[in-house]
Amino acid sequence: MPRTGKSTGRTSARRPRGEAPFVFGPQAIDPELAQRVLARALEQGGHFADLYFEYRRSASLSMEDGRVRTAGGGIDMGVGVRVVMGSAVGYAYAESLEPDEMLRAAETASQIARAGATVAPVAVRQRKIRSAYPVEDEVVDVEGAARVELLRRVDQAARRHDRKIKRVDASLVAVHKEILVVTSDGVMAHDVRPMVRMSVSAVARRGKRTETGSSGGGGRQGLAYFEAVTPEDHGIEAARVALVNLDSKPAPAGTMPVVLAPGDSGILLHEAVGHGLEADFNRKRTSNYTDCIGRSVASPLVTVVDDPRLAGSRGSINVDDEGVTPREHRLIVGGKLRGYMHDRISAEFFGKRPSGSGRRESFRHVTMPRMSNTLMEAGEDAPEDIIRSVKRGIYAAKYSGGQVNISNGDFVFSLTEGYLIENGKLTAPLKGVNLIGNGPAALRTVSMVGHDFMLSDGMWTCGKDGQSVPVGVGMPTVKVDELTVGGTAV
């Protein structure tokens, strides 16, 4: 087992795919043991049961003001046992692989299904999955000094960018996660899920004015990520945004056209349509997209997909957390709603095949339908033309986050870098501002879609019902004719 602080150098091609004790070594879970636990889980009844083994080894470093303040990391491991009966779920977990503890968890989970018909688990077949994120050198295994060096580079690049940069904080978090899902309908699937995330924020000061800027990225990638996007790129970007904000003016207030920059603006899709199309809300009839399949919910220019198989992206998964192989979900095509994102329970309810959208934060949590990488497909407009078409409006470039109210479709997102558009040109940078709209209403006013699709560099974490999962977003430059901009200048 690799250890923190010890270099593994170049990993050989023969290295076993995985290090988790449940796949490798004396505690490895064999199909017989898994079946015994599943049989115990289904002893009281139930239609379906699954085991979710998870192993998570992390290594993190944080640098404050040029100094590595702390190193952290650790290992977390356990197994969640779920029993499903219709749409009812019994759940329990054990923080160990001891058979007795797993069986006890199975008994606790089986409480849900007192006196039901029993099914016996089917013999498992192990499946081979081609990885959408094969990684040569996982960052979690990179020698500590080399990880410190990455932070040093981001720090120095930000400082050297301009003398007004007064402070830089940065962090590097790397995770090696492995899961093994065993289901009562015969799936046994193992997935290795590497993750790296670098983030940096810079403080700029001029006179009495202080502003910040941030940058970061990563994904299901290894050390090669930093060849494509260097630490210097992130350092300079954070400094650039902080400097832009030193000149920012109060944003306008009111309803106006908004041009969304390519990439990060995908956060709008995630909030405006993505959550509302997670099938659990529609099964419960609490989403404003309930009963809308086949209807027009956006401008004909809008095609939205959720693609779990994007190479190396933060939201990608090779197999979902219920053992289902995911496929690309075409959610909205030419403005028409085509389908929801399903986990096993909602798929059963709607009479569909599960689409591989069942995800969970950890073995301590139950699965729900969740997004992976939510994208708007490119259109035909030139980005310059889109900006040129706006007489007075906003250009939205960077965001700190967004939120949606599923039931009425109102969504917000918060700008950290934006500009006024006056007579077709970007003019003054704007102070951080909140934008609000209503999902279907806003998407119906999409009047131009650029040809410049861009994937956001991996920084997004989505929260739902108290569970956080990494997600990806992406889109081209898009013009929305009407959004409400929450500035202070009337």
């Binding site: 160990s96 202080t210 009337v490």
Partner: protein, 458 residues
């Protein structure tokens, strides 16, 4: 109220693990260490349309450690308490510290500032762990039924839920501190849904929660309140963009008080992530405004008998009648800022950082209805959305919903608008504070009124 014997025994066991770990770390040559060991139990059930949707029950445990050697710091955590595993885990944590760089301020508080005794804050309800799944299902069913039956316009619900949790924790530090704490919490919640025009749904959420089961509001009350909130928000409009006086109902007001809290934490101040940096002694709010952080309120959600470094805790007047009096400081941030620590550390076993306990806006004398008096046209905000706050500048802008105020009365529901104003100006603009504070959450606030904000709407 004394804690049950079984809990004290569990704490004894955790103490032994913590002390043994500390000894090991001393043998490994660390200069300072904090070990936190805890266990928890939880039960969560939800019911929708009268059918059980989820029964989740689990026990968990964890040990986390911070080590400092030659001024270099590392943190790590594990759930594996077996002797040989722990030994390997601790050795790795010490090894990891090599990666960080020496920081002369990273050391522990002086042993003299550590407490040996602390008050009993009555945070543990023996009844909590005794609530079994069957009873929890009855409660969740009752709260949903109450919501569905309260009004014919309620079409469905996102479900009723009951959750309970209990935890025991021990904090041991190489300075000689050994703290023991245990607490419970339970909550009952329901989300009622009413159908509006255009396929939109309006959701009303209400919950009751607390450390003592006997103090929860009844399922009938919780359900009724959720339903009435959903129904009241039917048929909202957007109001024209402009400047309006704004009244924040206590739940929305709490979100603003939370932003203030984040800006008085020592960590935010020394990292220059606070517009309140460098402003001790300044007027930062109107004279109606006082903020307090009080860890010693019996049975309150954010109470703690000692802080995450083993220091004594006390009630801190952060802002008195508009004047900023104190930040909330742990050892490290107090050294960074050259101020006296306030016993506000949390994160026992992790990187200690400053945090709030029970942080609140001190209530005024006025009944909340009186806040509306004299407002010809204004906005009453019940809920906010989004992350539109920049702590460095204080710029604040968030999505809001609520009601229009006309001639001192609530009239039409309002949604899809934003409210904006720099937090510095907003606090100076608070011209009335109501008397309806409850310590339902660790950050809390009574309702208050702001003289003017920019509302962006139609």
């Amino acid at each position: 109220m004394p804690r049950p014997r079984a809990i004290e025994k569990k704490l004894d066991r955790l103490s032994r693990i913590a002390e043994r770990s500390l000894e090991r770390l001393r043998d490994l040559g660390v200069d300072h260490a904090e070990v936190a060991v805890g266990t928890g139990r939880e039960l969560e059930v939800s019911v929708r349309q009268g059918e059980v949707e989820l029964v989740k029950e689990a026990q968990s445990s964890g040990l986390s450690v911070r080590v400092v050697r030659d001024g270099r710091m590392a943190t790590s955590s594990t759930t594996d308490f077996r002797d040989e595993s722990l030994a390997a885990f601790l050795a790795r944590a010490v090894e990891m510290a090599e990666l960080s760089e020496p920081d002369e301020l990273a050391g522990p508080p002086s042993p003299r500032s550590l407490v040996k005794e602390w008050p009993d804050l009555d945070l543990f309800d023996p009844a909590t762990d005794r609530i079994r799944a069957g009873r929890a299902i009855k409660l969740a069913t009752a709260v949903e039924r109450a919501a569905l039956r309260a009004d014919a316009r309620i079409t469905t619900s996102e479900g009723g839920s009951f959750g309970r949790s209990s935890g025991c924790s021990v904090l041991a530090t190489s300075g000689g501190f050994l703290g023991r704490n245990a607490g419970t919490y339970q909550s009952l919640v329901v989300q009622a849904v009413a159908d509006d025009e255009g396929g939109k749904k309006r959701k009303g959420v209400y919950w009751s929660g607390g450390r003592f089961f006997g103090e929860l509001e009844s399922a009938a009350e919780v359900g009724r309140e959720a339903a009435s909130r959903a129904v009241a928000s039917l048929g909202p409009m957007k109001i024209p963009t402009g400047h309006y006086p704004v009244v924040f109902e206590k739940a929305a007001a709490r979100a603003i008080v939370g932003l203030v809290a984040s800006c008085v934490l020592g960590d935010s101040v020394y990292r220059q992530r606070s517009y309140l940096a460098g402003r001790l002694g300044d007027t930062i709010a109107s004279p109606q405004v006082s903020f307090v952080d009080d860890p010693l309120i019996p049975r309150a959600p954010g109470s703690r008998p000692y802080d995450g470094e083993g220091r004594k805790v006390k009630k801190i007047a952060v802002c008195r009648k508009g004047v900023l009096r104190s930040y909330l400081l742990d050892t490290y941030s107090s050294r960074k800022l050259d101020l006296r620590p306030t016993g506000s550390a949390s994160g026992g076993g992790g990187v200690p950082h400053s945090s709030t306990s029970n942080f609140y806006l001190v209530p005024g004398r006025m009944a909340p209805e009186r806040l509306l008096k004299g407002i010809e046209r204004g906005l009453f905000v019940t809920r906010m959305m989004g992350f539109g706050f920049d702590p460095t500048t204080g710029n604040f802008s968030r999505g809001a919903e609520g009601f229009l105020i006309e001639n001192g009365e609530l009239t039409s529901p309002v949604s899809e608008v934003t409210v904006s104003r720099n937090l510095d100006e907003l606090l100076q603009g608070i011209d009335a504070v109501a008397n309806d504070l409850e310590h339902k959450t660790s950050v809390s606030s009574p309702s208050f009124r702001v003289d003017q904000m920019t509302v962006a709407g139609s």
